[in-house]
């Protein structure tokens, strides 16, 4: 399988803090790569660095054979990379419809079909079509954020903790949607919920203290209790 995204030894500073100190991994086309690690390990910063929101000071990020390390955020997004941030970043004050329209590059017939398809993944959103995004529940916000990243055709989705703070029944819905999205696109997922991560992840990368500890197949990690215990505090 071809490698879609390749991250080589990236270092990122936020203000004077050296947050990423050497993160490397690869995401193969069509797979779900999960970034694991405890709080503050640098997973969110890794996604933000890929998006160019906290640019890397060292290392390289190759997407589809193009070096995107130094590119501005909007150009990275326009290379068909969708991003769902940890806090969802819904535009409060804009309706659900408007939240999606900000993301849509075109508004022709094909785009509308695409929108319809994405909305079928998240039927709840249709119910709140004209509602202010700020008044959605946590789960609805999460779905809106995912729909917004997916409303344009995406080659890669970066999704940061979609299950965070959600009730189990909603987590289930989010997972169903992710499984559906996975059929079409490559996903890099940050997830603390190990069950969810293990269910849909193909590969994992373990990050601790801003460094990659290990990468491998998810099926191997599921049986490696020692690793789980040491870095994820579970098992």
């Amino acid at each position: 399988m071809t490698i879609l995204l390749e991250i080589n030894d990236i270092h990122t500073y936020i203000e004077q803090y050296h947050i990423l100190q050497g993160v490397s991994f690869q995401a193969k086309k069509g797979e779900v790569s999960v970034l694991l690690g405890r709080n503050g390990a640098g997973k969110t910063t890794t996604l933000r660095t890929i998006m160019g929101l906290n640019p890397a000071s060292k290392g390289e990020i190759i997407f589809n054979g193009v070096d995107i390390t130094k590119k501005p955020t909007y150009e990275i997004a326009n290379m068909k990379i969708g991003y769902v941030p940890e806090d969802q970043a819904i535009f409060n004050g804009l309706t659900v419809e408007e939240n999606l329209r900000v993301a849509m590059r075109k508004e022709d017939e094909a785009a509308m079909e695409r929108q319809e398809y994405v909305l079928n993944l998240f039927p709840d959103l249709k119910k709140f079509w004209k509602k202010d995004g700020g008044y959605l529940s946590g789960g609805q916000k999460q779905m809106l954020a995912m729909a917004r990243a997916f409303v344009n055709e995406a080659e890669l989705l970066l999704i940061d903790e979609p299950s965070k703070g959600l009730a189990p029944i909603i987590v289930e819905k989010v997972m169903e949607a992710l499984v559906e999205m996975k059929k079409e696109t490559t996903i890099v997922l940050v997830e603390q919920n190990f069950y969810m991560a293990s269910q849909i992840g193909d590969t994992y990368t373990l990050i601790d203290d801003g460094k990659t500890i290990q990468s491998g197949l998810m099926s191997e990690l599921i049986h490696d209790n020692e690793l789980q215990h040491r870095y994820l505090g579970i098992g």
Partner: protein
């Protein structure tokens, strides 16, 4: 009664001029969190450019368009040279835009001389209508119409168009807008130039209204615009219209009924707003 109508028209037309200045200020602040202290300078440049274009072409339309172009160009220069180097750095930003304000105001004197310049109302708009006992000065009515027209156009753009949607989204979370593939810097520049052009248009409309223009007029009006932005709520477009009309009307009535208080009235409104609703009357959700 006729007095009241005349005072109202006066107040409304001053209010509209302030609105043209304040709306740009508030849009730029809402989107970029930049408070442009040089905005009044752009207003003065618009006034001078308008008078100059009018003097060489004798066409008021050309004068207004010329002023808008000059304003947009100056806005371009301001954003690139002055705002960008200190983007996101509040204190330097405040300091530097005020410095730029003084530089461009002083440049007016270099280009057009240090003395006041007379400005005339174009013939088509001069004179007045008499309706019963009420005397309506045509030019003032024109300013009011222009003000509402500008408000209408911009309200439509903000609410109904894609670029307006992007600007509104950018006000809420400009990082996410970028992550959705939008070059926010270009949007900034566009908004900045638009705000500058609005200020310049305000200046060009102001010139025939007051009859004379002078380099310091920018600062005088900028102060009113700041008051309006505080009252209306930083970043709110309808808020700036409402507050501008409020300030214009209050000034106009007070100047007639209680002239000694006319100066203080804006102050009093602003202080009341700051005490009871410090985020402004039309606060933008952040």
């Amino acid at each position: 009664m006729e007095l009241l109508i005349n005072l109202t028209i006066n107040g409304l037309s001053t209010g509209m001029l302030i609105f043209l200045l304040a709306s740009g200020l508030t849009l730029i602040f809402g989107l970029m969190h930049v408070l442009n202290f040089a905005h009044g300078g752009l207003f003065a440049w618009g006034a001078y450019a308008g008078v100059w274009f009018y003097s060489i072409t004798s066409s008021f339309t050309v004068a207004l368009i010329g002023a808008i172009i000059v304003g947009a160009l100056l806005g371009f220069i301001t954003e690139r040279l002055i705002i960008r180097p200190v983007y996101g750095d509040v204190v330097p930003q405040i300091l530097i835009t005020l410095g730029f304000m003084l530089v461009i105001s002083e440049m007016l004197k270099v280009v057009w001389g240090p003395n006041q310049i007379a400005a005339t109302v174009p013939p088509a708009l001069s004179g007045s209508w008499e309706i019963g006992d009420v005397l309506i000065i045509k030019y003032r009515l024109f300013i009011i119409l222009m003000g509402f027209l500008v408000f209408g156009i911009f309200y439509y753009i903000l609410k109904r168009t894609k670029i307006g949607l992007i600007v509104r989204a950018g006000v809420i979370n400009n990082e996410m807008v970028q992550a959705l593939g939008i070059n926010i810097k270009r949007v900034f520049l566009l908004v900045f130039m638009t705000g500058a052009a609005l200020a310049a248009l305000g200046g060009a409309l102001m010139a025939p209204y007051s009859g004379v223009i002078y380099a310091e007029m920018g600062m005088d009006f900028a102060i009113l615009a700041f008051i309006v932005v505080v009252i209306g709520g930083m970043g709110s477009f309808p808020g700036s219209l409402f507050a501008a009309i409020l300030v214009g009307l209050a000034g106009s009535y007070m100047a007639y009924y209680v002239p000694d208080l006319s100066l203080a009235v804006n102050m009093i409104i602003m202080v009341l707003v700051l005490i009871f609703r410090p985020q402004g009357l039309f606060a933008v959700k952040g």
